[in-house]
Symmetry: C3
Subunit: 463 residues, 3 copies
């Protein structure tokens, strides 16, 4: 990380242009409309226009889309001088990742005569994969150049698709809301990357690694959109009917319970009982992560609330006690604390999913078993084997994330991407034209100040 030539004038355009041109060529060669989006194919069979899957997935897609761009983007604007980068790099790498994910997931999820088919489901899946990259972004936030992030996105999307393929296609794992594929993978991948990129002298920019009043307000926009739309996220690609409905409902209760336990723990762990915005902005979301696998199952509102309640407690404790240890002992500098929001709650969600799966019976699921556990419904495996598979999937995901993050971390460490120096981390102005910070009435005071500074005798006094 010693390369401080952070001028992006050539690096960023070259990277973006090369990546986008490759994408366009590959899309030209490989991608075609699926039968729901193709004028000819859709009109070839007899059905109502209203049967198009657009009407049953697109509202969920848009909610997910808001989570990716507004939710993740603004959640990370809490840093005082890094708002442009948080929301702007989030925007850039998400726009790249969703295109690349379409290809990678299309490739692994099954080609149709050599072609990748696209429609609203591929859009949702691509956004999901993008979410994983953005989680990793949270771990390295403030310490990487946009080129490094693009490189990370390309590799992480690829590994995400491999892991997802192993889980969903090879193992027959259930993970509708991605406790494993998205959250656990994204978090531990990012943690390993930030470990490899460890900066021993990061305290040089320590004073910028914190929030100010307004940046915390902007971050709450991100938090609330994530919180509100998480039920749509977890239910976006479950089977239609009761499955989507139930998943949304379970997630909604998990989040509500999580919010109460987050506030409780935030006050309890502070000497003066004051609430900490870091906890509210993040830990209150852990209930959504933890309901990511079991949300589509017959978890019941009761079970969902317990899951959310515990997730909130774990997450706050993580922010309060574990993160400092990870930094001091394991040299993991986790800017957004993704280990507390996505890592531990993701692992917890995987375990809850494994347990819930192993308890599945026909008495509970009836004919709905086919939607939730197709392998159990057709007697390919028992409910307890399904539970076992779910547990194995967690191990696979952790392995893929840690090894993948290690490798990609070393690629990102090459001193060619214009990473910021230790002293210029968490600072927009190295990559952005940053205007002043005066507001309307403020400006009058500014004028006075400027005059003040202009007077030599005053300036002398001040310095």
């Amino acid at each position: 990380m010693t390369d401080t030539n952070t001028n992006m004038r050539l690096k960023l355009p070259i990277t973006c242009f090369i990546l986008e041109i490759i994408l366009i060529i590959l899309f030209g060669v490989l991608v075609e409309y699926d039968k729901e989006t193709d004028a000819k194919k859709w009109h070839n069979s007899s059905h109502s226009e209203y049967d198009n899957d657009f009407y049953y997935r697109y509202p969920s897609f848009q909610d997910v889309h808001v989570m990716i761009f507004i939710g993740f983007g603004f959640l990370m604007t809490f840093l005082q001088r890094y708002g442009f980068s948080s929301v702007g790099f989030n925007f850039l790498i998400a726009a790249l990742a969703l295109q690349w994910a379409t290809l990678m997931q299309g490739f692994f999820h099954g080609m149709h005569g050599g072609k990748i088919h696209v429609g609203v489901e591929s859009m949702i899946n691509a956004d999901f994969c993008t979410g994983s990259v953005l989680i990793s972004f949270g771990a390295v936030l403030g310490k990487t150049s946009p080129v490094q992030l693009l490189v990370m996105a390309v590799f992480e999307v690829t590994l995400f698709a491999v892991n997802e393929f192993i889980l969903l296609s090879l193992l027959g794992t259930r993970d509708a809301g991605g406790s494993m594929t998205i959250h656990t993978f994204g978090a531990y991948f990012g943690l390993m990357v930030t470990r490899v990129l460890y900066r021993p002298n990061l305290d040089k920019s320590k004073h910028k690694n914190s929030s100010v009043y307004h940046s915390d307000m902007f971050a709450m926009i991100g938090t609330l959109y994530l919180w509100m739309f998480w039920p749509s996220f977890n239910s976006a690609i479950t089977e239609h009917g009761d499955d989507q409905h139930r998943t949304a409902l379970n997630t909604y209760y998990s989040l509500a319970a999580c919010t109460l336990s987050t506030y409780a723990m935030s006050a309890l762990t502070a000497h003066d009982g004051k609430l900490d915005m870091v906890h509210i902005q993040n830990a209150a979301l852990a209930g959504g992560v933890a309901a990511g696998t079991a949300g589509e199952m017959m978890l019941t509102p009761f079970g969902s609330m317990i899951v959310g309640f515990v997730a909130g407690i774990i997450s706050v404790l993580g922010y309060k006690y574990l993160s400092p240890i990870l930094e001091s002992k394991l040299k993991i500098q986790d800017t957004c604390g993704v280990h507390n929001l996505h890592g531990m709650p993701g692992v917890m969600g995987a375990i809850v999913g494994a347990v819930t799966a192993s308890l599945a019976t026909t008495e509970i699921y009836g004919d709905g078993m086919e939607d939730v556990f197709p392998d159990v419904a057709d007697n390919t495996r028992s409910a307890s084997s399904q539970g076992g598979i779910q547990a194995i999937s967690l191990a696979v995901t952790l392995g893929m994330a840690l090894v993948g993050g290690l490798l990609v971390g070393f690629i990102m460490k090459l001193p060619i991407y214009g990473a910021p120096s230790d002293a210029s981390c968490f600072e927009d102005s190295i990559y952005w034209e940053v205007p002043g910070d005066e507001g309307s009435h403020e400006a009058q005071l500014t004028t006075v100040r400027t005059e003040e500074f202009a007077k030599p005798e005053e300036t002398e006094k001040l310095n």
Copy 2:
């Protein structure tokens, strides 16, 4: 309000934990999936997966959800030093209220074999009830501790459910968008609470009971989301088909007309003709409130626009002339002016609903009468009796709200909840860890300032 031990370290966690654990236990005992969310029950009958009510209610639910958490939350961030509390306590009490409301409404709206059934309709209803609590929160904003608010939420949700039961189930009142059940109830309940909690020396924190430039911008986010999604709010639980469609349309026109009259009145009532953000942020929404009851009826776009137009005028006049009188004469300190946004427009909406109902004829409604006025359609009562019932319902609601608010106000007045002192009202820092307020470039000035303060001779001079 003399207890100024505002340390929440034990009070808040204990309250949250007890409430959430009670909720979890009650959910475990009482709540089960309805037939649209249960894997077995849904797959027991023959229908398309696409018939699930999820697809016909969930988009509306998400719009309502955004109104509750972003809409109400950010609308109240207009105060200069109370943004964390506005959006944060809104988040906390909404997360509690929606859980408690599920139980209370489920209990009153009919149990199924001793069980409360949940699905997207219960989610919408719970959010509606929560909206009522948040309206009351607006009246006491800045003057209560989070524990007081949780206590208020528990009692208010209960009384809301009783009132809603009396109106919708016993009296057969129509109130799709809740002009009465939500707005009138929430407003007068909150006004009575704030009356009981009257603080004669509130002017000690007067300088903080106002906005700054950026806080007004944040508040506009809340306003616009409420404004845009109000058509979804009013139509969220009407009957399917023309009813939802018409309700959304009527509300849309009412709001548009209201916006024009709000801007007009805001300029007209200012000496210098300058627009007042308080009016724009609030009064422009009165059209949604006032169309809450009649919105589902054959009000016509023409009628809707008149309703919105008048509501905007009334609301601005309320902010300008009535609120100061309420405070000075009746000792009602209504921080957000909920009387002007929810109180008067709610009463107006109830009256418009009563009149519109009494004018209903088969000639106008055709077979659609059954959806809008089932009691009129099956000749249980005449249209004019329906109108009478609507009027009586307003009186019942006002009575319930005022008496309920009085009682709950006294409960909240107990000096055990850590309410802020008069001087520390409208101030985040008593309940929140509050960071500094410097932005990017500002920070350089801050450094100078800090040095300045550090110099003893300078500091002496300043003080």
Copy 3:
């Protein structure tokens, strides 16, 4: 523009009241529910309640609605002292325009027995027309009074409806997302208006015609909502089924590719390689504009990405090199650079649409031809004639916009509307009650400052 009596006390209320009362009267005389919103008509025929178009258009409508009020409104808040006006006047003129557009479009699009029918389609169309007015608002942002803007809205909506009628009804042009009808029209209309309102001494307020840190953050909220929901915008009124689905998909890819090329060009065109918020906020959206006409066609993801990629490049180049020339040579002061975001990409979108249309074959479209090119499907015209018609439509639109903007510009130039003086442009405080700008902790410093200023000897020193 010499009338600096900017007091709106009578001008604004009179304008608003007259306009709204005229609207209400005309709605009373002319408007009635369509068969999907009318209780009697809907229940007259046999269909499922779920067949109501509400369920297939309303989610798209709400996305468009958010783009109009939050998207456009916050995109324009980038100016440091003009946030209230940006979001507030956007709100006002949009509320007016959508009502007036309902009448104008209803009139031109076909009356039913002397009546204009309204429902979710008219709501979407009205919002579309409003979008065009808001684009023009972007060109004159900061330099007009609210009364001027209302006058502009009334005339522009009327001309929009005429142009739309010529294109869609007379010529049989396809323009689902409005590259021509909305973007090209709105942009060139606004550019002509701002040309007529040219202010030679605008540099008097030059220091306010720029952003500050937080205003750029607010603007990003607008950008992202526009970006995320643009797929809904372009697909909102296409035919049901594959058409809506495909349009959303194409737009999504166009925007993703556009984002990459925007970031690349922004860094490339800066001496120090730093990204410029102006480009990110605006040019990244050009892909949505440029896919406005061809989006519903079989453009393919490949084609969509090329369109977006090129649009981003053109747009950044426009901001960087063309806008200064337009201002210095052609006296066009385009505050938001609508020429770069809506003008050039709109023209490009029209051309792409013409080319794509001329390449349409039955082999590609199958029976879907009827939805996309009904005139080609029924052999009224060939695909290449359709392409020709599309090209002619662009010319018609440009002509209507330029002549219309010229005329309306002169009407707006009358010195009776209270336009701001050159020195008070880009300034909220002439039309709004503007509070101070101090945040929470800042306030303590303010107190110190105030004391400081209060001390005569200090004040002397400072001045």
